[in-house]
Amino acid sequence: MLTRFYADNYRCLSNFTLPLEPLSVLLGANGSGKSTVLFLIAKLRDFILGRGDSLELFPPETLTRWDKRIEQTFELGLRLEQGEYIYRLRVRHEAPERALNKVIEETLNLNGQPLFAANDQVIHLYKDSHKEGGQMLPDWHVSGISRINERRDNLKLMAFRRAIEGTLVLALNPALVSAISAAKQPVTIPMPDCSDFADWLKHISTAESLATQEAEQNLAKGGLPGFRVFQTDPSGDAGILQCIFQPRLKFRLDELSSGQIALVILETVVAVAGERSGILILDEPGNFLGLSEIQPLLARLQDAALEGRFQVLLTAHHPIAVDFLAAGHGSWLEREPSGPARVQPIRVAESMEGDKAGLRVSDLIARGWLSGLGVAGQKAASENEVQASTRQPDAQPRP
C-alpha cells in the first residue's frame, strides 16, 4: 500500500506531502491539484517500469512556474510485507529551454536500508541482504530500477517493482474508448483514459482470467442487466471487443452508452485490483454513472479498502461520493491563485453531533464554506462546525 506521496517543484506541487491510507479521497476546487497528484503517481509508475523516460514524463513545462529552482524531487512510500519502502527520484533540468534534463538521484530503501542507489555517475546495486552487489553505468533519462533483471538475491527490489506495476490509475473518458484491439504487444497497463481498454482486456483475459470472470459476473448482476460475457471477434489483424447480452444480443463496446462503458471498465478494474491486491487510483469515478450506481460502487471500494483487499485513492466532486466518504477518509486540497497546493485532512467537529448537525459536507463545499486555509474558510468552520484540521502542511524544505 502506498503510504506517502511527496513532490516538489512539479506543477502546482511545491514541497507537497500527502499521507495515504487504505482509502483516501482527495477533494478540492477545480485546479487545486487533485488530478495532478493522481497523474504524477502514474508517471512515476511508468518511469520506474521503464515505460517512459525523464524527457517525456518530466518535461520542463512541469517545473513549477513561479519557482526558479531547476530540480524536481519525488518520493513514494510503499508498505509491503517486506517492510517500508521509500523510493526517491530527483530530476535536474540543466537546460529547460532545450527540454534537457537528467536523473541525478534515484534511490530505493527498505526499512532504511539501501536496495538501489543511483546518481548521474554510477548505479550501486544491493542484494536483499543490503550488501553491495555491483555497479552499473546510469542512463541519465531512464530509471535504473527498470533495467535490473530479476535474480535470486534481489527479490525485495522486484517485489517493489511488481507492486508498482499493479497500480492502476484511471481517469475515464468513455468517448475515447475503442472496441478495437490492435496492439502488437500485450497492454499490461491501460492508458489513464482507458482508450485502450479492449487491448488491456485482451491481455488480462489470459493473464488474470479470474478477474475477468468476476467482472463479467458483477456486471451481469449489477449495472448491466442481461450482460453475459466479453468476446473478442477477429477482424483482420485486430480484434473487436463485443459485449454479449441475453438472448444472444451482441454490442461492440463502443456502441454502449457512456455510463455503461464506464461501468464495464470500473467493474473490470475493481476485479483486477482485487486479484492483484493492488492499488487502484480513480479520478472522479462517479462521472458518467447514473445516480443509483454511485453508492454501490463506492461501498464496494470502501469495503475492499478497509478489509485490506486493495488500496483505493480517488478524487471526488459528486455529492454522493463526498457525503459518503469525505469525513472519514477525505483530504482537502486548496491553492491560492498561482500558489502551491496544500492539503489537510477533513475532520468533522465534535459539535456536528445531534441536533446541531448542520449542512452536509457536499453542501459546505458547494457553497465554498469548507476551507482550511482562507479567512472565509475559518469563518465557515466556526459557523458550520465542519472544518479541515489545523495541521500545517509540511513546511520543512527538503534537501
Binding site: K221, G223, P225, D323, M352, D355
Partner: protein
Amino acid sequence: MSRVCKIILVCEGWRDSAFARGFLVAAGIDGRSIDAKVNPRGSGHDWVKIQFAEESANLARFAEGRGVLGLLDEDGQGAAFREKEVADRLKERGLGSISAQDGRCLLLPTRNLETWLYWLTAQRAGSPLNVDEETDYKMAGPPAGSPRIGDQDCRPAGEYLHTLNHAQPPDGCPGMLCQALGRLREFLKAVRR
C-alpha cells in the same frame, strides 16, 4: 433497469454497516439494493437517532416492502433507554413505533458492536468465547484468549450471524444478539414482501 434501493442502513460507523450488510447479503438480499448512511464521525448516538427517524419518515412516504435498519450501541445506557430515545423521535414525527415487521428495525448491540463481533468471530472459528454485555471491549481490548478483531472481521461476522438459528441460538449468545436475530428475521420478511 435501474437499481432500486430497498434497505437503508443507519449506522454509527463503517464496522456496523459492514456487519449488517454481511448479514443481509448472506440472507439473500442483493447487496446493490442496500444503501448505507454512516455517521461521518464514526460514532454518535444522536446522529443515528435523527437519521433513523428521517429515513423512517421517508419509508412511510415512499416505500412499500422497503426498510430502515439502524444499529445503535447501548454503551452502558441501557437498551431500553436507547430504544425509548429512538421511539420518542419517531413519535415526535408522527411515525409508528419501532417495528421490524413494518420495516423499521433497530438493533442495539450491548455493550457495543465489538461485543457481538468478538462472540461471533470466536463462534465462527469453532472456539466459543464467553463475553458479557457490560465490558466495553472496544476500549478494554479483546476478551481473554481472543485476538483483537479488525475491520476485515465485520462482514464475516455478519454473514455468520445469518447461519444461526434465531429460535435456538447457541449457548452463551449475548442476550441482545438473540433479540437482534429475532428482529432481523421479522425485518427480512418485511422487506421481501
